[in-house]
């Protein structure tokens, strides 16, 4: 399958800080790809490099087959970009903004524009600066969907919006999904889960995983084990077990590489007195939190060991 977006060792440094570090990413055509990660992970930086808003420090990126550094002018007639902090021509009304953008796009669909205006209930005669945040976002969506772009790039599009507006925007996106690739970054994991086909998890500028949503959902399980008697955590737990903890006779952890047979076998080896084992599927939000917390505790333990080594030296 062709990739709408492909990056190779893409990196961006701001002074001494590596915002994105050696990113290898492939977004298949037709996918709805959600890039998730904690604040400061580098999601917006990646999107801005892809959109040639600023250049990468190293590496390479292709967007719809075009080198991201050369992405300009006409190439944007196939790309729709909406960002939470994007400026808009505030002095225009929503209607005059659509009128202004229309001639820039040979594929602008007036019927679709009218449909989006109706669907989003856009007040065409009001100036953008007088619109609520939700309405402005709807206007941005309408102006980025009406020309049927091959790729829609969304940077935190749902942040700060009420659930009703979010639903309306997602509905608008899903209607476009069959004909386009959607690449979005978001913290709104519940909504993403409902319509994303692929997900990538970014932490400290590095992509920890990138896979289809169904594979991810199958890979993560919350495991609850009831033991005969309280037992301490053994030291040689598999690395795929995240956040293991015991309370009285109950052991809980997240298995990030779940396979029922293997996990059961590994549990039996380490906890022979286990009485009851439950494998619960996890929502994306829970997976995200588990991975994020595990990443933080890993980073802090690495820091601690580095400090110990320094002190010893």
């Amino acid at each position: 399958m062709n990739s709408a977006i492909r990056t190779q060792s893409l990196s961006k440094r701001f002074g001494r800080t590596a915002a994105v570090d050696g990113l290898d990413l492939a977004v298949p055509e037709g996918a709805i790809y959600a890039l998730v990660g904690p604040n400061g992970a580098g999601k917006t930086t990646i999107i801005k490099m892809l959109m040639n808003i600023f250049p990468p420090t190293a590496g390479h990126a292709e967007v719809l087959g075009v080198d991201s550094r050369k992405l300009a002018g006409k190439a944007f007639s196939r790309i729709g970009y909406v960002s939470e902090n994007q400026e808009m021509p505030e002095w225009m009304t929503a209607g005059s903004m659509l009128d202004y953008y229309r001639p820039f796009y040979p594929t602008w669909d007036r019927a679709l524009e009218r449909q989006l205006v109706r669907q989003f209930d856009l007040p065409l005669t009001r100036k953008l600066k007088h619109l609520s945040r939700g309405m402005r976002m709807k206007a941005a969506f309408a102006s980025s969907l009406a020309y049927r772009p091959s790729l829609i790039v969304l940077d935190e599009p749902f942040t700060g919006l009420d659930p009703l507006v979010r639903d309306e925007l997602i509905e608008g996106l899903i209607e476009r999904a069959p004909e386009t690739t959607i690449f979005l970054s978001s913290h709104d994991l519940a909504e993403i889960e409902s319509f994303s086909s692929h997900v990538g998890y970014l932490e400290q500028g590095r992509l920890l995983f990138s896979e289809e949503m169904s594979v991810l959902s199958n890979r993560f399980r919350e495991v609850t084990v009831t033991l005969d008697s309280p037992a301490p955590l053994p030291e040689n737990l598999p690395p795929a077990w995240l956040q293991p903890q015991t309370a009285d006779c109950v052991l809980r952890f997240v298995d990030s590489d779940f396979s029922e047979d293997r996990t059961a076998r590994e549990l039996a080896e380490r906890f022979p007195t286990a009485r009851n084992i439950a494998f619960d599927p996890m929502p994306l939000r829970a997976i995200f939190l588990a991975v994020a917390k595990a990443g933080r505790s890993r980073a802090s333990s690495q820091q601690d060991s580095a400090t110990v080594k320094e002190n010893a030296a």
Partner: protein
């Protein structure tokens, strides 16, 4: 082109209030500007002149606002602008901005200048090249610098602060140079070259920012422009530039003027007194006898360089100094070579016999056209010069002509010698008999080759101060209608150099006391 027009139409809709204000002020400018050259020196016209002066300053102010706002409509600094991810082509975007400036800045001011030329009596079509050159100067001095700064700043406030900061920096550097007592270097007339260089640098900065949006690089380029200018001003070894503009003659005998040191010239002596300043320098005046200036010729001293050597081997070079535009006419027999010397240098050499070598950058000119007319009562025109009118002194009893005032199109005319004769009696007591000292003369114009001078007004007022004007023995000198008045225009024959060596020269005695410098010859 479609996209250019589309963006242009958007900017026009957005900035119509600014456009209206700018056009209105341009219209007011056309209305009030003629007052500067048409009215007489009565108190009412002075008030109008003040209004005209204010409007002349307000027009560029509205341009500054308009240029900055239009440039910032598609801001180039930052990463959140709406247009960055739309199918904007940078060349078309820049083209749209240029079209906007052409329509709302250049076209109105071009029309305004044509109207003003016509109002002053000049036919605009005869001055098209000069008018376009004037627009070029406005571009280099005003439009491109403001646009370049707006292109590398993110808001109107930042642009304004940057421009103010640049002005303060330049003022500070000039003040430091002044306090450091550095000489006033003379850079030969390279106006068109400087205009071309500035145009290229500012245009390169604007184009580079639109093409790449590498703001820091473009900011560095913009900082380099004034630094380069200052370096150019500080360069002392620009002899090659002087030699190119003023090629030295093959032999000194071939120079259009021969000079020789004449310490005993009649009239040489006495003293010069002037106030001390932080940059006090001693003005050395060396009397010379001139010869070789043929009849009808005039030699203008553009710049002077003095090289001084003392018996102990120490030496001083004044470098090329801004000349005093001294004129050496045929049969004048006399020329005072004048140059400034820092006090420290003077104190070092004051008691020593010196060897002085003077080199002059000179322009040889020849009388080309002479117009002799009887002074009219009203306005009169002089071909290739401009228009003049008698200056009237209004009084209860009479109206007397106490001088003339002139104006020309786009630039001062070629160097012109004006000569007439004063009358000490009232013109009503005709016939008048001119006395021995009643000639009134003035040099007007320049030998500069540029087709226009920078400024909004296409009409240049020419200060015409006739010598021997004012009162003599309690009587006001006046010009009577019908008095012959000559206008002799000089054309450049060549630019060259002349030099003279002086041995055993002693510096004049100088006293600095009570804020006064006294130089005794």
């Amino acid at each position: 082109m479609k996209q250019v027009l589309h963006i242009f139409a958007k900017d026009t809709r957005h900035f119509w209030p600014e456009i209206v204000v700018s056009l209105a002020l341009t219209a007011v400018f056309v209305w009030v500007c003629p007052i500067e050259w048409l009215s007489n020196d009565d108190p009412h016209s002075n008030m109008f002149k003040a209004v005209a002066g204010l409007v002349v300053n307000l027009v560029p102010l509205t341009w500054w606002i308009l240029i900055t706002r239009v440039t910032h409509a598609e801001r180039l600094v930052g990463d959140t602008q709406f247009w960055l991810t739309r199918p904007y082509d940078w060349k078309r975007l820049l083209g749209a901005k240029m079209l906007f400036f052409a329509v709302f800045l250049y076209l109105p001011i071009f029309i305004a200048q044509c109207l003003l030329l016509a109002e002053a009596g000049f036919h605009p079509l005869a001055y098209l090249s000069g008018l376009f050159y004037k627009l070029l100067l406005i571009t280099v001095v005003l439009v491109l610098p403001v646009m370049a700064i707006a292109a590398v700043t993110s808001s109107f406030a930042r642009t304004t602060l940057t421009i103010l900061g640049i002005c303060i920096c330049l003022a500070g550097i000039l003040a430091l140079a002044y306090l450091a007592n550095s000489p006033d270097p003379y850079i030969p007339n390279q106006g068109p070259l400087i205009v071309a260089i500035a145009l290229c640098l500012f245009a390169a900065a604007v184009v580079a920012q639109y093409a790449t949006r590498k703001t820091w690089l473009v900011r560095l380029l913009l900082i380099a422009i004034p630094v380069l200018s200052l370096c150019l001003g500080e360069v002392k070894s620009y002899q090659c530039l002087i030699d190119r503009t003023y090629p030295p003659p093959a032999a000194q005998a071939g120079a259009p003027v021969q000079l020789s040191y004449s310490p005993n010239l009649p009239g040489y002596g006495g003293s010069d007194t002037y106030p001390t300043t932080p940059k006090t320098r001693i003005w050395i005046r060396i009397p010379m006898t001139e010869s070789g200036v043929s009849e009808g010729n005039l030699v203008v001293v553009d710049s002077i360089r003095a090289e001084v050597k003392a018996p102990d081997g120490s030496q001083w070079d004044s470098a090329w100094q801004l000349g005093l535009m001294q004129h050496i006419v045929s049969n004048s027999n006399r020329y005072d070579a004048t140059f400034p010397m820092p006090i420290a240098v003077y104190n070092k050499f004051r008691s020593m016999p010196l060897s002085v070598h003077l080199t002059l950058a000179i322009i040889q000119t020849k009388a080309a056209e002479a117009t002799n007319i009887p002074l009219p009562v009203g306005d009169f025109s002089i071909p290739d010069f401009g228009f003049c009118k008698p200056q009237i002194r209004w009084s209860v009893a009479s109206t007397e002509i106490t001088g003339i005032s002139c104006f020309s199109a786009l630039r001062p005319p070629t160097l012109t010698y004006i000569r007439t004769t004063w009358s000490e009696s009232s013109c009503s007591d005709l016939p008048t008999l001119p006395g021995p000292n009643e000639e009134g003369s003035a040099w007007v114009g320049s030998l500069d080759r540029a087709p226009a001078e920078f400024g909004l007004s296409p009409v240049e007022l020419l200060p015409t101060w006739l010598s021997n004007s004012g009162y003599e023995n309690g009587k006001l000198r006046v010009l009577c209608p019908g008095t012959p008045i000559d206008f002799v225009q000089y054309k450049v024959v060549r630019r060259t150099q002349a030099s003279v060596g002086i041995e055993d020269y002693r510096l004049p005695k100088v006293t600095v006391a009570r804020g006064q410098v006294t130089v005794e010859y």
